[in-house]
């Protein structure tokens, strides 16, 4: 798919004139029917993210025609007017068929404080707003909260955010999110292969009985650059597991230091203690924070383990459980790219309750770790 500029001389306009510029572009094409099913707003913190958002959205927009607004949050210092690059988008597989509108803008200085207002003025009327927040949430989350508040579908990518952003996100969900609002995490969709693989152990009745005896979960992850106790992905995975087993977090979260990580005591449904350990691993060929191993075990010898092999697409799947036959085997997992996941999200927007529950239980763990 290619973006088609309106005209070199008029491709950059002020925010106030963006709508008129798009109209002129459509008229120049003979005013064909304009299919608009959504506003897709991508908020980025760097030029790389802007480029990534542009490429990803151009792959999904033929299936979901509409207006793409890419916002680059620039330096908070200085003041310059908001300039919008406006263009129409045509479908690469059907050149000449225009399927969308693109507005790319950079917001710096004090205008950052009003980014939500700027974006709201640029939205196409009468169609849902999908907000894709790339990267970290700013220290002052007010812009995020206002745009998220306004969105019908909120999409984040926890592989790109700070661990502490989980807390911001959880607060938004708890305090502001509407029950009809779809909230998803692209990284959460990538976790699905790990969740499926772990769940598969316990389809076997004997292994399911073994799960009832388990009292420990260890999640190993590729150490993130800043050395947090966990990656957002590891925390969410552990959160998912804890909610499925109805593990309870103590009112006062105290992480204990271990040789390669941290450990926390949770409580099983039957009142027995359950240990959650986050272990640092060093795997230079993986993204920071990527899972490397998950082990569920019991003190009587049951052990269910998935470990990423040297080839990051391969998981070793092995275990021991009395009465169960667990063949040691390898599972190949796909690595769905962002456009594909974004497309899936737009095809089936959903309020992902598993994700929200995992977020709810893991946010206090993050706060507890801060207290250390």
């Amino acid at each position: 798919m290619t973006a088609v500029s309106i005209a070199p001389s008029s491709s950059e306009v002020t925010a106030e004139n963006a709508e008129r510029a798009l109209d002129r572009a459509w008229m120049a094409l003979g005013d064909p029917p304009r299919a608009r099913t959504l506003n897709l707003v991508c908020v980025c913190q760097s030029d790389d993210e802007v480029q990534f958002a542009i490429e990803a959205t151009r792959e999904v927009i033929p299936g979901h025609p509409g207006r793409v607004i890419v916002v680059r949050l620039g330096s908070p210092i200085g003041d310059s007017p908001v300039i919008v690059r406006a263009s129409l988008l045509d479908d690469a597989s059907n050149p000449g068929t225009f399927v969308g509108e693109s507005l790319i803008l950079s917001v710096t200085g004090t205008a950052r404080d009003h980014v939500a207002t700027v974006v709201e003025r640029l939205l196409a009327p009468g169609v849902p707003l999908v907000l894709w927040w790339l990267g970290d949430v700013p220290d002052d989350p007010s812009s995020f909260v206002r745009l998220a508040d306004r969105s019908d579908v909120l999409c984040v990518d926890s592989s790109q955010i700070d661990l502490s952003d989980l807390v911001t996100l959880q607060r938004f969900v708890a305090q502001r999110a509407r029950v009809t609002q779809s909230i998803s995490d692209l990284e959460w969709l990538r976790l699905r292969a790990w969740q499926e693989s772990l769940a598969r152990f316990f389809d076997d009745p004997a292994s399911l009985a073994g799960l009832g005896r388990c009292d420990a979960l260890e999640v190993a992850f590729n150490t993130p650059a800043r050395g947090d106790f966990a990656s957002a992905k590891a925390a969410l995975f552990a959160g998912w597991f804890a909610t499925r087993l109805k593990l309870r977090t103590p009112s006062s979260v105290r992480w204990a230091t271990r040789e390669n990580g941290r450990a926390l005591w949770l409580t099983r449904e039957d009142g027995q203690p359950f240990s959650l350990t986050m272990t640092h691993d060093l795997r230079p060929n993986l993204h920071p924070g990527a899972l490397t191993r998950v082990t569920v075990s019991s003190s009587v010898g049951d052990r269910f383990e998935i470990e990423r092999e040297l080839d990051p697409r391969v998981l070793a799947w092995r275990g021991y459980c009395a009465g169960a036959i667990i063949p040691e085997c390898v599972l190949r997992i796909g690595s769905p790219d962002t456009p594909r996941m974004l497309r899936r999200l737009l095809d089936r927007p959903e309020r992902d309750e598993l994700f929200l529950e995992a977020l709810t239980i893991s946010a206090p763990w993050v706060l507890g770790a801060r207290a250390l």
Binding site: D203, A324, P327, R332
Partner: protein, 511 residues
């Protein structure tokens, strides 16, 4: 999947097969190489097969596991849906491929198979779950199932701890009597719930979409009846000839090869009443009611209500094509039909008076499978002559190629005058979903592993379809068609087929 598994909650949108040993009889055959192993490979890399699932090939030919794996690797490289085949994914997959040599009537081979399956249970955790795929000619269905039973390899159908299921390939008999003989042979050792009669047409997305289209939309169902529909045409046309299958085709013909199974399946899906639930028995109950409502063809009307043909020489795209009788393994005086068409009437409230015209043939102008529903003409042409030039509304459900749905409607041409023209509203699978569909065999094997028989034929369906078709075949046998070959390769079939619909004042579509 185990519903008690707490980690499954919320992850249930994927269909995952339980661990199972899948045994393919006829493992050295074409179907195994071209379809079955590539389908299983795709299921494995899509993580729809449980870890520890194993595939055992069984055939007369002597081979080791390594030789079998190599043979299947080469075939999968050639026939896999997504290429290239990743060598590492293949290496993971092939470690669960095994081979057992044996004849279908030799007890010692089945003892070796039993030992192999017990080893797999012990090492792979397949828990006694077995799926036997009989990719063999039908004459082996009885002997294989008896041997399986003698070797103690068929489990109790009421056992909830493990399952035994058997997939049988078409053709399921060559007439009513032979199909009943086969059915009795299978039922000697198997319960009906363990038998999965595969018709790969039902695994196609576009065929399943017939159900979604009819019963997932409120706007069409009220129109789907005799008050609004003039007639229905179902076409399964092939460009290719018999492709070296002369021996098989001489004993079959177009009616047995396509009409009795694929075409009747389409007919049932188009004509059935809404099922009370989307489960195997509810859907199949409604399908079989359609067959029971088919008006039997009176012997004296068979020649009027049917047409048959055999292709002669011709050209397609400028290339010369040989006649059927010139194909290898074909009798130079063969009377086997390579084309068949018929008018079918359904005697029920919904379809009384609505003819269903069905046709199939080889070496036709183009490859196409479709269902075309022609609606009745409007009662008054309000817009004068230009409206009279528009055709009645038509809904076309394309099965292949270019799967999709087209609705033809009349629309006003832009301009100051009220001129109407036909326009098409199009839905295309490829464009809308932008991804390739799973192969029909992938879907159906997965269904069988999950115990979902909705898309498999039940014995009463097979019985009813043969009950309808057999008198026609017998009549044709007694009254050989004169003038074979009667259509040129690369055309839309014999003149008799045109006459069949023209007698009713209608015409075949030219898809």
């Amino acid at each position: 999947m185990n519903p008690l598994n707490p980690l499954r909650a919320g992850l249930d949108d994927e269909r995952l097969a339980p661990p199972c040993a899948i045994v393919i009889f006829g493992a050295s055959g074409d179907l195994t190489r071209r379809k079955l192993v590539p389908a299983l490979y795709h299921l494995q890399i899509s993580r729809m097969l449980a870890p520890g699932s194993a595939i055992v090939g069984f055939a007369r030919k002597s081979a080791t596991d390594a030789e079998f794996r190599e043979e299947q690797r080469e075939a999968t490289m050639q026939h896999a849906r997504s290429k290239p085949v990743d060598p590492e994914s293949w290496s993971t997959f092939e470690s669960s491929l095994f081979y057992v040599q044996g004849a279908f009537d030799d007890a010692s081979g089945f003892e070796r198979l039993k030992s192999q399956l017990e080893r797999i249970d012990a090492t792979h955790g397949t828990r006694g779950n077995r799926l036997f795929y009989l990719a063999t000619p039908p004459e082996f269905f009885g002997p294989i199932s008896r041997m399986l039973a003698s070797a103690g390899l068929i489990g109790d159908p009421t056992d909830s701890a493990s399952f035994t299921r058997v997939i049988v390939e078409k053709p399921f008999g060559h007439d009513l009597e032979s199909s009943r003989v086969l059915d009795r042979a299978l039922h000697e050792v198997l319960h009906e719930s363990q038998i999965y009669r595969i018709d790969h047409y039902l695994g196609k997305e576009a065929v399943q979409n017939l159900l979604a289209f009819r019963f997932g939309n409120a706007i069409f169902e009220p129109l789907w009846r005799r008050e609004n529909i003039d007639h229905v045409q179902i076409t399964v046309a092939e460009e290719i000839g018999i492709e070296g299958r002369g021996k098989f085709y001489e004993g079959a013909g177009a009616t047995r090869d396509i009409i009795q199974n694929h075409l009747f399946q389409l007919l049932m899906l188009v004509a059935m009443e809404p099922p009370s639930a989307f489960d195997a028995d509810s859907v199949r109950d409604e399908k079989v009611k359609v067959l029971r409502a088919l008006r039997p063809m009176a012997r004296e009307r068979i020649s009027e209500l049917t047409a048959r043909g055999q292709y002669g020489r011709g050209t397609l795209g400028g290339a010369p094509l040989t006649a059927y009788r010139e194909e290898p393994d074909v009798n130079p005086d063969s009377r086997t039909e390579t084309f068949a068409a018929m008018r079918i009437d359904i005697d029920n409230w919904r379809w009384q008076g609505v003819p269903f015209y069905i046709r199939t043939g080889k070496r036709l102008t183009r490859r196409v499978s479709e269902v075309a529903v022609r609606f009745k003409a409007i009662p008054v042409a309000l817009f004068g002559r230009s409206q009279a030039e528009t055709a009645p509304n038509e809904l076309v459900l394309r099965i292949q190629p270019d799967e999709g749905i087209t609705l033809r409607v009349a629309a006003k041409q832009p301009g100051s005058r009220m001129l109407l023209r036909d326009v098409n509203m199009d839905f295309r699978y490829g464009t809308t979903w932008g991804r390739t569909s799973a192969d029909a065999y992938e879907r159906l094997i997965l269904d069988a592993l999950l115990g979902d028989a909705t898309l498999f034929a039940r014995n009463d369906e097979v019985d009813e379809s043969w009950r309808y078709i057999t008198p026609i075949l017998e009549y044709w046998q007694e009254m050989p068609a004169p003038g074979f070959p009667n259509y040129s390769s690369g055309t839309w079939g014999p003149a008799a087929a045109e006459a069949l619909v023209e007698r009713d004042g209608r015409r075949w579509r030219r898809p």
